[in-house]
């Protein structure tokens, strides 16, 4: 086994919708996979022929109690940089690959008396395993799930059959809208969870705040980095290794470090987990993450390389 990774074989590929496929991943040596909590994700490592390894994060949709296999669901992205396209077009049953151990930054609240999930499109995926945990804990939930149509609504039949009283679907083709009004009048003890487009999550988070929700009752999971503006170029100096290079326009600092064969840590790549945090010795940071606190940002002593950038020219890193 590659250190820190699990080798798995792909089985049971299923077409969930015209643009979504699910894949079951079984361990090569037949041992039990590590348990996980609902809302977890794994990083998959696939290598198209003559290309570099593509690391992509996908939510686990399988039952957290089941350790014989993991299951993921992948939407074929219009903006695919190769990952989802390779999974959809090239990965076949019997193919082997490496995956990471499960990670989680979108877990159920232990304090919640009632969970309300809001999913849009492929944003349904983390909720599938979270619902299993809610049921196991004997707690209650509602799921509000928006998609363009029933045909494009992945897992529609399974959800409708299994949770007829808890799930409400909204199909925009039928002019059904999942609105923020659903956040109002929830009983005390309710926690709300959002997963969907950047716009949807921003709209719902802001609405929850406007209805008086304390921030700790609001949870959301990004599948892509927040849109924080132009990815302008800047220079980087590495103090320990005495290297310097430019981070070009459109590229992240993390991508530039990897390209220059620097052994930099990372996990989620969307500014949410803090794994890629590096010390900053000189220069001003343009923070674009959702991990650091306001006072940590003001200190200007660290940077999350996967999304943040250097302001005004040059950054010197403790690397």
């Amino acid at each position: 086994m590659t250190r820190g990774k699990i080798q798995v074989v792909v089985k049971d590929i299923k077409i969930e919708s015209p643009i979504v496929k699910s894949f079951k991943l079984f361990p090569i040596n037949g041992v039990e996979l590590p348990r996980f909590m609902g809302g977890s994700y794994i990083t998959t490592y696939v290598q198209p022929p003559n290309k570099k390894v593509l690391a992509r994060n996908y939510s686990l949709i399988s039952n957290p109690k089941k350790t014989e296999y993991y299951q993921i669901a992948i939407r074929l992205s219009n903006e695919s940089k190769g990952g989802s396209r390779f999974w959809h077009n090239d990965i076949k049953e019997g193919n082997c690959l490496h995956i990471s151990y499960p990670k989680n930054k979108f877990s159920l609240s232990f304090e919640a008396k009632h969970h309300v999930f809001f999913a849009a499109g492929i944003g349904i995926t983390p909720f599938l395993s979270m619902i299993e945990d809610v049921k196991k804990n004997g707690e209650t939930f509602e799921l509000h799930y928006a998609a363009k149509s029933k045909e494009l609504c992945s897992f529609y039949q399974a959800l409708k059959a299994r949770y007829p009283n808890e799930v409400t679907f909204y199909f925009s083709e039928n002019e059904q809208k999942m609105t923020t009004a659903l956040l109002k009048n929830q009983l005390i003890g309710t926690h709300v969870y959002f997963c969907g487009s950047e716009e949807m999550m921003k709209q719902f988070s802001e609405a929850a705040i406007s209805f008086g929700y304390p921030e700790k009752r609001i949870h959301f999971e990004r599948f892509s980095p927040p849109n924080a503006g132009t990815m302008y170029p800047f220079k980087v100096q590495l103090k320990k290794s005495n290297q310097s290079f430019e981070v070009p326009e459109g590229e992240t600092l993390l991508e530039a470090l990897v390209k220059n064969k620097i052994d930099a840590p990372y996990a989620c790549t969307i500014g949410g987990c803090g794994s890629c945090q590096i010390g900053v010795l000189e220069g001003e940071v343009d923070h674009r993450d959702e991990f650091l606190t306001d006072s940590e940002r003001r200190e200007n002593s660290v940077i999350l390389t996967c999304v943040s950038r250097g302001k005004n020219g040059c950054l010197t890193l403790d690397l």
Binding site: E111, A112, K113, H114, K184, N185, Q186, L187, I188, G189, T190, I209, S210, F211, G212, Y213, P214, E215, K216, R217
Partner: protein, 179 residues
């Protein structure tokens, strides 16, 4: 998001409802009326509900007169009655307690059982506050003293009183003292 402050309270800028509980003592009445006045001057003032845990009719009538247009409920202090009121509240409701510390402890516990989080409960206590120590062996609460060690009065374990404090239990952690 910018929170408002009133004395030691921080107020969510979009608070929908302020649920005020007071034990009917003179200090509690004064502080409650002052706080209500502040809430009414907010740009968007929340709905205000006042629950008085007292069996003194004069006190109750006085408060009702002062708060003619607010929702005032008088109840003899019974945790179950309080709980029945709290469990129907919606997210956006924030709880403010004005009472003797012992009463605050009981009402806070009831509020957390029905789903209020620590961020949604704020307290103004009166009198001496008894601090408690949680016994890791029998899970009971003991009175804290000025000593670093105490003997659990339930299981007789010798406990080392740490400075680790549980908001949920409102108590300090008492580890088994290793001799």
């Amino acid at each position: 998001m910018e929170f408002l402050t009133f004395k030691n309270f921080t107020i969510h800028p979009n608070i929908q409802k302020a649920f005020l509980f007071l034990d009917g003592t003179q200090s509690a009445i004064i502080d409650t009326l002052s706080f209500i006045n502040f809430l009414k001057q907010m740009q968007t003032s929340p709905e205000i509900m006042v629950v008085i845990g007292s069996d003194l009719p004069n006190r109750i009538d006085f408060i009702k007169t002062k708060l003619a247009e607010s929702n005032v409920i008088a109840t003899s202090f019974s945790i179950n009655q309080i709980k029945n009121l709290l469990i129907t509240q919606k997210v956006g409701t924030y709880l403010y307690l004005f009472a003797q510390w012992q009463t605050i402890s009981a009402v806070k516990q009831a509020a957390m059982e029905v789903g209020f989080s620590n961020e949604e409960i704020q307290c103004k206590g009166y009198g001496n506050k008894e601090e408690m120590v949680f016994c890791v062996k029998c899970y009971k609460l003991n009175l804290k003293s000025s000593n670093h060690e105490i003997i659990c009065e339930y299981c007789s374990s010798l406990l080392d009183v740490t400075n680790q404090y549980s908001i949920k239990l409102d108590a300090y952690l008492g580890n088994i003292k290793v001799k």
